[in-house]
Symmetry: C3
Subunit: 402 residues, 3 copies
């Protein structure tokens, strides 16, 4: 038996087997089916392939290198610092021109700090005291500048005072210029050089036009008219990010410069160009002082003739620029193509299934079609074998009529 | 002929063609098929859609910006440095509060180095010498601090000595406090602000609660109870990463702070929250001194009255924290949905194919069913045309019985 | 009616329905179909699964942490600086050993700059003047070093001069040593430690061999023979990147060190190893001076006895190394497997469809086969019900012969 089966199987290997179809001359369902087919086809071609480029393999993990270089000088004249000129080496931190750079626009300078004892700033709750017992010796002031020495310092006529601390003295006095010191930083320019590489496709490119016209690259400024000019005016960046430069300059903030590479590598490399967008990253919206603005402290260390260290503490407010590069490259690839096509084909099958339901159960003569589509075969009775052709095409209800 | 064919083709365009099925009244295979169908359905719905969210398009390339800010002071009293207070400006490198920051917890200070000649450190093999010929003039000491002057310096009564070198003298003496200098850094806190953006979905969020309760954000500390508090105690971070703070503080190390954004954008944005995890990145496990611990050297440069440069060399041991943000956002999208559904449908087809095999070759009456399923048509004999209905339903074995 | 339909539907739930096939004893099409099937199978197994590992789920978003450490000293002897030795603390910027580090190889030093007035550098077009009116007071010099004081300074006998500016004086004189100062940096070595983690698969690894042979890690140098040694000679890196070290050292440049982790996590973790590649990121090719080379300015600040700040401005040329890590991990996953398999199955369907076209429209007896494949059913006439079997198998052309 199995023998015969396998033999038959082998013999029939090169017979072509094709499904048998029943033609239902029912225009309603026929049209319905064509409509379904067409819509699936339209979806497949129009949406999946044309819009979503479903025939492409994509690479979203790109390697990127960013070089930034600022230009500009600012002149300030304050009581504290006197006439002073600020150049790149003064206000850019860190100086190396990496993808994240900070432009100092406002600062609180506390010069000549030395290791010493002095009263803690009165603005720190934990430092307030009525008498020495409030200043536990050796205890660090919470959110403060030093460790308590155990003494409570008061003015002659006041009842409350602040603990004496051992710290870098004098401590910073909490007050910063309302008006940003380097407000003119608005006119500084930054040159952003970005080279990217899509490892999967071994494709590299830069955001700097490969132009001979060097003077253009020196004089141009990025704008709608010059979308490929890599030189940006800080003031514009902030404005495009929806910020107010002067206000950010005094409070500090973080600006994201997004460079987006959305490349269709089936086209010419010259079609693959960066798209810049700017956004503010410190949520000004939520008015929680703790999470708005941007500042940090650093110090310049000196040593006097006696070899004693002293320092100038600087609380720097300013704008940090994060250059964030992301991208997507697509290139024709057979696998996603086939996955999408065959998913479409499978959909056709689903469509046919749906139309079958209509034909077999929802229209008037469904009963009849059901009989035609499904050919019932009984193998129990001997009779069935004698007249296969008869019951071959009988549908349930016809049997009922016999 | 072709003409007719195309005509017929066109006419039949709106006939609905549906596969003809043979109903095999065989409950065994029938049940089997239903089981297969159900399991495929269960897999598709349960696993692919519910668990794996197969109906979503995902974006794994997110843009992220991190701001960090440390708080805390430490008091030390050593023979070398005397009483000294360390604040943020002293121990945080770099100061700008980027996503990678270093907290100095232990250090070897070599003050007052000047460009001069002095004996190389005896701990460097290449610097050992018996006589001047071992110190080739102008040759740099391998893994050392300077270039040899050609002289071999010995103590009066010893036979071996070390080469004299031109370098920043005196050279650093290789010994660091066993006990970390700034062990109290364990109590320092770091405030981590992270804003992310999923470019594909134009979705942005921050890890700082948009709360009015500002005092909460100032006083809270991250823990199981406060999963959305962005302020971390260094000691806890190290503990959660499976490290021992004091030991790391003296040897140095690298801690990874992973912030994971796993967002289902079909839900409310408020459901998209960061998940923090901590891990140690320098493999303490492998006890190779070369690859464990973390330290680097930097110098503070001074200039004396004569305008000669000198410097304080600092070999800083400490903990580097790398804030690494990664994330995945999913949002309903028709394409993956259809791909998954249709892959399921295709599976159904595979199931049917499998059941066919059972029906046609593995059960008792398979022979009979095979005859029913496959309708053999011969086109050679004229006879076949005259009585299509007859041989139409004949299966091989029936022909045999005639 | 609907009642009966639903009843029949339920009763027939456990009948197994299988498509009825027509066996076309046409070897041509049969062979064609087998060929199509085999090629699809070959494509599926060979390409999709073996080559493209279509059975794997992939993770391309990896977390990475990089620690770098340079070793080497350089001795220079110039008129400006005299005999000077450069060690790590001098030439590595920033010192922390992050993934992006800069090795200073050439520099322009402008010592003892003070806030003062002095003539602007003559190399700046905007600073040239014939008389004071050309130097608008308070106006910043475009791409210059300061703000104009309003005076035009000339040598006695020349007609043209340069504006006097308030700036850090004297201004930098634009000339840098043709021959790089630290050319010997070519022999410096950098130790790169990279730990990665694939969050999706919770898989971590390092690029440092977990070897006990510590001396190997101290003495080895990366090369074709030692692909897993994490210590690189700068000169080699530049050469492998296709650059000339001496030339880059004098002009500056950026080198990308790509570490690629391409891991098949179905294999042993030990099979998952980094692959290093090196490339030059500043496009030397395009000879636009603005976008080639790499340099930045920074200053060391001093304070003299009178407490007046002065600084040494350094324009640093050198090589920036960007360690860029990217990777892809694949692990068996049922979903992509099924998607690929079922896409293959759907393809089979497409193949069958194609062969049908051949059978039904392109071969000689296609007309006949069409009649067999499509069984026309009419439901309009009462007659049809009385003799279903007759017209049951009639194909269009046969009807034509009646």
């Amino acid at each position: 038996m199995g023998q015969v089966a396998w033999k038959a199987l082998f013999l029939s290997l090169f017979d072509y087997k094709t499904e048998k179809y029943v033609i239902a001359k029912n225009k309603k369902v026929g049209v319905l089916y064509r409509v379904v087919q067409l819509s699936i086809l339209a979806y497949l071609v129009g949406w999946v392939f044309v819009v979503k480029k479903g025939y492409q393999d994509t690479d979203t993990s790109l390697q990127s290198s960013v070089i930034t270089k600022l230009k500009g000088v600012a002149f300030t004249n304050t009581s504290e610092l006197g006439e002073r000129l600020w150049d790149v080496a003064d206000y850019v931190i860190p100086p190396q021109g990496e993808s994240v750079f900070f432009v100092m626009t406002n600062l609180i300078v506390t010069p000549n700090q030395r290791q010493d004892t002095c009263p803690e700033s009165a603005s720190i709750p934990d430092a307030l005291c009525d008498n020495d017992t409030d200043c536990l010796e050796g205890e660090a002031v919470v959110a403060g500048n030093g460790v308590k020495t155990g003494r409570c310092l008061k003015d002659r006529d006041s009842t409350r005072g602040t603990c004496e601390i051992l710290a870098w003295c004098p401590v910073e006095k909490r007050s910063k210029p309302k008006k940003p010191l380097l407000g003119s930083a608005e006119n500084f320019t930054v040159y952003i050089k970005n080279s990217i590489r899509f490892p999967k496709f071994k494709f590299s490119k830069m955001n700097v036009l490969a132009t001979d016209n060097e003077s253009y690259l020196k004089s141009c400024r990025y704008s709608q008219e010059h979308p490929y000019c890599p030189i940006f005016v800080l003031g514009n960046i902030v404005r495009w990010a929806g910020g107010n430069f002067q206000e950010m300059a005094s409070e500090g903030g973080v600006i994201g410069i997004q460079i987006e590479w959305n490349c269709d590598l089936d086209k010419a490399p010259s079609e693959c160009n960066p798209h810049y967008s700017f956004s503010r990253l410190d949520n000004k919206s939520a008015e929680t002082s703790i999470s708005s603005g941007y500042n940090f402290r650093f110090a310049k260390y000196y040593r006097d003739a006696e070899g004693v260290d002293y320092r100038t503490l600087i609380k720097a407010y300013g704008i940090r620029f994060d250059v964030m590069v992301n991208g997507k490259a697509g290139k024709f690839n057979i696998i996603p193509t086939i996955i999408n096509i065959s998913s479409g084909l499978a959909l056709m099958g689903a469509g046919a299934f749906f139309c079958d339901l209509v034909l077999l159960y929802l229209i008037k003569k469904s009963n009849f079609y059901r009989g035609k589509k499904y050919e019932e075969v009984k193998s129990s009775s001997r009779k069935s074998l004698s007249s296969p052709t008869l019951n071959g095409n009988q549908s349930p209800d016809q049997l009922g009529t016999l």
